[in-house]
Symmetry: C2
């Protein structure tokens, strides 16, 4: 614990405190969604886990649909960020692609990333679903772009980009279902080894 600040929080601190509470709600919610599933988790459950009451959640997030949308948006945001960082990297197209894939896999084993994979579109209300799908299209497009760029610069042989993207994404999505954070393999190790297996398939011989 830090030394006591002034007991009179600034507007900045005020906003930060509010943001922290909002984040705490999302964290608790996403963990419970991942454990029990979205429909098996009531907002009363989430509130109880945090030692607060349900209306408090409604104070920070409009409704359950919003909670879920926020969770998957965070996860997808991390993936989109990973794509940006990979594109900015130096090296061949294949290098950038591989760096992205490793990070992609890691995110999918994290709380918010797992939620993205485990959440079916149907769980969201129509408007939220549109947003969810748009974000997913975005990372799909990013992945295809990275693959195409690697083909372009000759660091991997030509292939059906669309199907390659689906294959790679599918393989690296799946740990969201089985990987156990308490298990023997760290998510980093799993990510790296799976990408190794996949890279053997698309790198030139």
């Amino acid at each position: 614990m830090e030394a006591a600040q002034s007991p009179f929080p600034s507007a900045q601190e005020k906003r930060a405190a509010r943001e922290a509470k909002r984040a705490a709600v999302l964290r608790a919610a996403v963990q419970m969604f991942n454990e029990r599933g979205f429909h098996q988790t009531s907002l009363d459950d989430v509130a109880a886990r945090l030692g607060i009451s349900k209306p408090t959640i409604y104070h920070y997030l409009g409704n359950k649909d919003q909670v879920l949308l926020e969770c998957v948006s965070i996860g997808l945001g991390q993936l989109i960020e990973a794509a940006e960082q990979s594109r900015a990297r130096e090296g061949s197209g294949a290098d950038r692609l591989i760096a992205f894939l490793v990070r992609y896999a890691e995110v999918n084993m994290d709380d918010f990333g797992r939620c993205v994979i485990r959440t079916g579109d149907e769980a969201l209300a129509p408007e939220s679903r549109k947003r969810f799908r748009a974000l997913k299209r975005q990372i799909d497009s990013d992945m295809r772009g990275l693959i195409a760029a690697a083909v372009e610069d000759g660091s991997i042989p030509p292939c059906d980009v669309r199907l390659m993207a689906f294959t790679l994404a599918g393989a690296l999505n799946w740990p969201a279902r089985w990987h156990d954070h308490g298990g023997a393999l760290s998510s980093e190790a799993v990510a790296r080894q799976m990408v190794d297996i996949l890279a053997r398939g698309f790198l030139p011989r």
Copy 2:
């Protein structure tokens, strides 16, 4: 329509008719589960689609949990059957593995197979969940067995069997989420092309 049988059905025909009705309920249910999601599909919806009433469904299947369990059991049954047939096949271990993978992917794009992938364990009641998990463990074990056999007979190089199985399964599960039966690519084509991509990764160079 066939010419009229005797209007007095035999006990055999009786049982078959009942079985056909039961199957029709499951077919309708699984399709709606895949379209809208399990929790967004009420048994009243399913009944309406069939032009019957909800208690009729309860007459053929005990409850909603049973309906879902039956659906995923059918899908998993098809996968287990595929494993058996592949093992009985001639050729190298790699040949048998590839044949299995193609069939595995195809099943996962079919009604019941898709349901297996899209259904999270949490959706099922505790007892059904156990059964579901046991069946999934079974095909996982089958897949690992086929990989190990291929390594054994030297038709593919050594690898981490567990992680290879997860990688292959993940990639070939994913079409359950995106493949559209109305789309340009048939499920057979998708299966074959994805397995080609993956096989480049594990076959010897």
